[in-house]
């Protein structure tokens, strides 16, 4: 059955229905229905009345214009989301939980929005409307998956089933603890925890670029068909729990196991070329190993550059500044040297600031006129 989203925006109806259509090209999976906003009371009542007809909400950040009836939204979007969450917790007028997603056509919305920390806990995903086109399939996958994930989480509370793994030892004990202690928590809290603390960040699960880095493979220049074949081969390591369709991840622990079983060596002891060679040999593939540049010290790739996604060895990586609130099992993020030298110093971790200053001084060539 297709997932339905209700999308509220202050732009004219003809405009927003086309935007919605663009997201509904796979109607059997996802359908987005566009509505103009209403005044507070009508808006909330409408959502309550229609709760059985949607699986998720998409809200436009700015509701400044008048709708067809001439009403301006006398509230901001965060207030609406907050109110809905409240009603969901009360479980009286709203009988189910659902994802609430934020979108905006504003330039560099994500950057600006990040500064408004208070809003973060309210929305399951934030999109710049440009992404509806440039990352169309990803967005559709994610919207669909968010709604499905919520449905699953509302019924299933066992963490190993949610993450779909039998090996409970793969899951950090603190995550298991969290779920044990929060069985009564509302679905959106559990969903947010899973998505923001377990699935999205690097830690027990890794994304495609990190996977490529740890296997020594170059997917930056391009993904060839052998990459797809490899992914099929290591399918047992793929994360298949909630939100896995919208966010492709792989179990690091399972990857380690797979490697040891297949090659009887540990992944970290081999450099990039060696890893790729072994893979190509064993599985008859033609994967390209990532080539180091003259600035790199070695090719024992383990992390990736936060900005360019290229594989990085730890010795070549510059620690990025981190959010002190992140969960303990989440790994650090890094920049490549080139990026770090040109990046805002505020994005670099304080520990590295001196080192970067020294390197900048060393790398500064004098001009010969």
């Amino acid at each position: 059955m297709a997932i339905n989203y209700y999308y509220f925006d202050d732009d004219p109806k003809p405009t927003i229905s086309e935007t919605a259509k663009g997201l509904s090209i796979f109607e059997d999976r996802l359908k987005v229905n566009a509505f103009q906003h209403e005044k507070w009371d009508d808006q909330v009542s409408f959502i309550i009345e229609q709760q059985d007809s949607f699986d998720g909400l998409i809200l436009d950040w700015s509701l400044n214009n008048k709708n067809q009836k001439g009403d301006i939204a006398n509230y901001n979007v965060e207030a609406l989301a907050q109110q809905l969450r409240r009603l969901i917790i009360e479980n009286d007028r709203l009988k189910k939980d659902f994802p609430i997603v934020l979108c905006s056509a504003n330039y560099r919305f994500n950057e600006v929005f990040c500064k408004e920390v208070t809003g973060h806990d309210l929305f399951d995903a934030i999109y710049e409307k440009d992404q509806f086109d440039s990352e169309q399939s990803v967005v559709i996958n994610q919207l669909e998956d968010l709604a499905n994930g919520y449905k699953i989480i509302s019924l299933e509370k066992a963490i190993e089933r949610l993450l779909n793994t039998t090996a409970k030892e793969d899951i950090d004990y603190r995550i298991i603890d969290f779920f044990e202690n929060n069985k009564e928590a509302p679905t959106h809290e559990l969903a947010r925890f899973l998505l923001n603390s377990v699935i999205k960040p690097t830690g027990i699960l890794i994304d495609e670029y990190l996977l490529a880095s740890r296997l020594g493979i170059d997917i930056i220049s391009g993904r060839n068909k052998d990459w797809t074949s490899l992914l099929e081969i290591i399918d047992s390591t793929k994360y298949s729990g909630v939100f896995s369709k919208g966010w492709n991840r792989w179990w690091m622990s399972k990857l380690d196991v797979f490697w040891e079983k297949t090659f009887e060596k540990s992944l970290g002891s081999l450099n990039g070329n060696e890893r790729v060679m072994l893979l190509n040999e064993r599985f008859n593939l033609n994967l390209d190993s990532y080539k180091v540049s003259k600035d790199d010290k070695n090719s024992f790739f383990w992390v990736k550059c936060k900005k360019t996604n290229r594989p990085l060895a730890l010795e070549d990586a510059v620690l990025a500044s981190s959010d002190y609130l992140q969960a303990p099992w989440v790994e650090d993020e890094y920049y490549s040297l080139n990026v770090a030298l040109r990046e805002d110093i505020s994005k670099i971790h304080p520990i590295e600031k001196d080192r970067i200053k020294k390197i900048k001084a060393n790398y500064t060539s004098t001009r010969i006129k």
């Binding site: 935007t19 919605a20 259509k21 509904s24 090209i25 330039y107 409307k129 440009d130 900048k360």
Partner: protein, 715 residues
């Protein structure tokens, strides 16, 4: 005195002519208002709490002024040795008041002369706490004439019964001048510094309870009576309370909270329902006066001196006090206490404007009735209440009400601010008599003096330049609006295209749609420069800018354009932290884009094999530099300085049928604007010899940001 019978045994003594009273009065006490304020200060020094000044029938001379205070009063000893002794040493012996330890406010010994200055007759009725009766002294200043010995004049004093326990009443008759309302108000202002307000809750007043902290208070009430009717002219209440930006009063009835906001200043009279769970509270009432500390909002409504007084009062007397059953509960409402969680609340309007919301903005009280002591409990140390659910709900109720009320008041304030701004902007000076334009006026000024004429020509030239800049600025502002609107439509176009592509349509239709999609993506890239610049304009602050980062961003923006026009862009940098002195980010976008468009045109004219642009940045000698070079058609050396002049352009003037766009871009103001920006920051821009392979090179130098500045901005 007889000249013949002078007795000089034992020496001679000083004697005093009674006329001295008159003279001293005139000389020591200049103005009548000063005289009255001196008398008020005497009451202050006598530890009075309340002083009432009643000006009776004072519209003409000859009226009466009665000054009543509830101070310590005088007994006979104090009367004779204090009041009746000129230049008495009392104030030297007692520099602070006996009970409240107030610093003496009155000038030494002026009081009596003040009364003489004001009117020709004085009656003092004074009683101390310990005396069974009061003393009544009558003085007729007319008796103190010249050629009479001072100590020969007797003033009758008797004992009488009065209806007060302690205090002094001065009756000054035969006032020498009339007293109007403004004059009375002036008196009040003179004694403002002495006033210590006392914010008694209504209940306390009704129950006649002197609250714990109001001991040292001092209140002055100025009244004016004529034909039997009295009305208040000035008192502390009217000062503080009447001039509040807003008065917020709230009630809790049956668990439902209601709050009324009244602001005469902003024409508000609203009722607000305060939402929340107040189930534990029963009888709650609060009244709070709200002030904003910015004289701009009081100008025209309140004299600066009174505003200053309120502001200084706020330092010690602001805050929201709590009264329970009529008694003040400490420490709530004391400076530093935040029981209503006001400091923890940050308030912003819907367009993110800051709203003043702090304990110092509020003068007021909350009163709760809890006779049986069920709802609230005092802590065992008797300081404060136990912070149970009821207490928390109370704090929340007041906080919610004040927040909403304050937002209401500030919305109106911002609208007024907005209207004021719009009003000022559109208020052009209409000189109805002279209809000539400024240019015409300047032309008309020309005469036969060649030198003066050339100066006038310069002025006209500058005027034209300003007008053109204004036109461009106007266009620029409109573009900002449009860009924002355009952005809203782009997702919709994409949505339509994506949807249509997925429909069951003919191959040709699909191809057409795919082309449409690609064209549209190209179209999008042209808005990116504007997006970038306009979004930067939102931030009006200057900050140190890293040239490298600016160049990176610029490269990103023109990425598509470059491929379109097949120009190769190279970048070299010598150094990494190339921070300029604080500048506006959007100005750099202008500079780079301007140089880029010039280079593009130059390359277009020259048609080399491969168009090349090179940007070099680095720093030397305390300056950050950027060189922008191209292999276009070059600038002849004779023009190297003139390129920066307004209206100098090598672009052929647009023909009459050229698009409007062309006629604007070839204005010849581009480099002038760039130079203006750079010079404003003490920088330099010049045309220098380019590197080999290039024809034109612009070099910009901007002072580097000092380490101090960088630290200030967090780098």
């Amino acid at each position: 005195m007889d000249e013949k019978n002078l007795d000089i045994t034992g020496g001679v003594r000083f004697s005093v002519d009674a006329g001295i009273i008159n003279r001293l009065g005139k000389e020591l006490v200049g103005r009548a208002e000063t005289a009255v304020s001196e008398l008020v200060k005497n009451s202050y020094d006598a530890d009075a709490n309340n002083v009432i000044l009643n000006f009776i029938n004072t519209d003409k001379e000859g009226g009466t002024l009665i000054i009543t205070d509830d101070g310590l009063g005088m007994n006979l000893f104090e009367l004779i040795n204090g009041f009746m002794r000129l230049s008495s040493s009392d104030k030297i012996h007692n520099p602070v008041s006996p009970i409240y330890k107030r610093q003496r406010a009155g000038k030494k010994g002026i009081g009596r002369f003040a009364t003489q200055r004001l009117g020709d007759r004085l009656t003092i009725i004074s009683k101390t706490k310990d005396s069974p009766k009061a003393l009544k002294l009558d003085v007729e200043w007319d008796k103190y004439k010249t050629d009479v010995e001072l100590d020969s004049i007797y003033n009758p004093v008797i004992e009488i019964d009065v209806d007060f326990i302690n205090g002094t009443k001065l009756f000054i008759d035969g006032l020498r001048e009339p007293w109007s309302e403004p004059q009375i108000k002036r008196v009040f202002r003179y004694v403002l510094d002495l006033l210590q307000p006392d914010f008694l809750s209504n209940q306390s007043v009704q129950l006649n309870i002197a609250s714990k902290d109001s001991i040292g208070y001092f209140n002055v009430n100025c009244l004016k009576s004529s034909n039997g009717e009295t009305h208040a002219i000035a008192n502390l209440d009217r000062l503080v309370f009447d001039h509040a930006i807003g008065v917020i009063e709230g009630y809790l009835i049956d668990g439902k909270g209601l709050c009324e906001v009244v602001s005469e200043r902003f024409n508000i009279n609203d009722s607000i329902i305060v939402d929340g769970d107040f189930s534990f509270l029963k009888d709650v009432h609060f009244k709070v006066y709200y002030f904003i500390y910015n004289y701009d909002w009081y100008e025209g409504f309140l004299p600066k001196m009174e505003y200053n007084r309120i502001e200084s009062l706020s330092n010690e007397h602001s805050g929201i006090k709590l009264y329970r059953n009529g008694f003040r509960v400490l420490p709530y409402g004391e400076v530093g206490n935040d029981w209503v969680n006001i400091e923890k609340t940050s308030l912003k309007t819907s367009d993110n404007a800051y709203v003043p919301f702090s304990n110092i903005n509020f003068f007021g009280f909350v009163e709760i009735v809890d006779k049986s002591g069920e709802v609230f409990e005092e802590t065992s140390s008797r300081e404060g209440l136990i912070e149970n659910v009821a207490f928390r709900q109370l704090s929340l109720f007041v906080n919610n009400a004040l927040r909403q009320a304050t937002l209401r008041i500030n919305s109106s304030r911002f609208s007024e601010k907005q209207k004021k701004k719009e009003g000022e902007d559109s208020r052009k000076k209409f000189n109805k008599n002279d209809t000539r334009t400024t240019k015409q006026k300047l032309e008309d000024l020309k005469g036969t003096d060649e030198e003066k004429n050339s100066i006038i020509d310069d002025a006209i030239y500058q005027l034209e330049e300003s007008e053109m800049l204004r036109v461009l600025a106007g266009i620029g502002l409109n573009i900002a609006e449009f860009t924002h609107e355009i952005r809203q439509f782009i997702p919709s176009f994409n949505g339509s295209i994506n949807f249509l592509i997925h429909q069951d349509i003919s191959k040709q239709a699909k191809e057409s749609l795919l082309n449409l999609k690609e064209n549209f993506n190209r179209f999008k890239t042209y808005t990116s420069y504007l997006d970038h610049t306009i979004s930067q304009n939102v931030n009006r602050d200057k900050q140190p800018l890293n040239i490298l980062k600016l160049v990176d961003e610029f490269k990103e923006i023109i990425k598509y354009e470059l491929t379109g026009s097949s120009i190769n862009l190279i970048e070299e940098h010598y150094g990494y932290d190339l921070f300029t002195c604080p500048m506006h980010p959007s100005e750099w976008a202008s500079i780079l884009y301007n140089l880029y468009t010039n280079s593009k045109k130059a390359i277009n004219r020259a048609q080399p094999n491969e168009g090349k642009i090179k940007i070099v940045c680095g720093k030397e000698k305390g300056k950050v530099y950027l060189e922008f070079m191209d292999n276009g058609d070059g600038i002849p050396s004779k023009y190297r300085d003139r390129v920066f002049d307004a209206f100098f352009t090598t672009s052929t003037p647009a023909s009459f049928d050229a698009s409007k766009n062309e006629s604007v871009t070839g204005t010849g103001l581009g480099l002038k604007i760039v130079k203006d920006i750079i010079i404003a920051y003490n920088g330099i821009i010049e045309v220098i010899e380019p590197e080999v392979d290039y024809k034109t090179c612009f070099k910009i130098e901007i002072p580097e940001a000092s380490t101090q500045i960088l630290e200030q901005y967090g780098y």
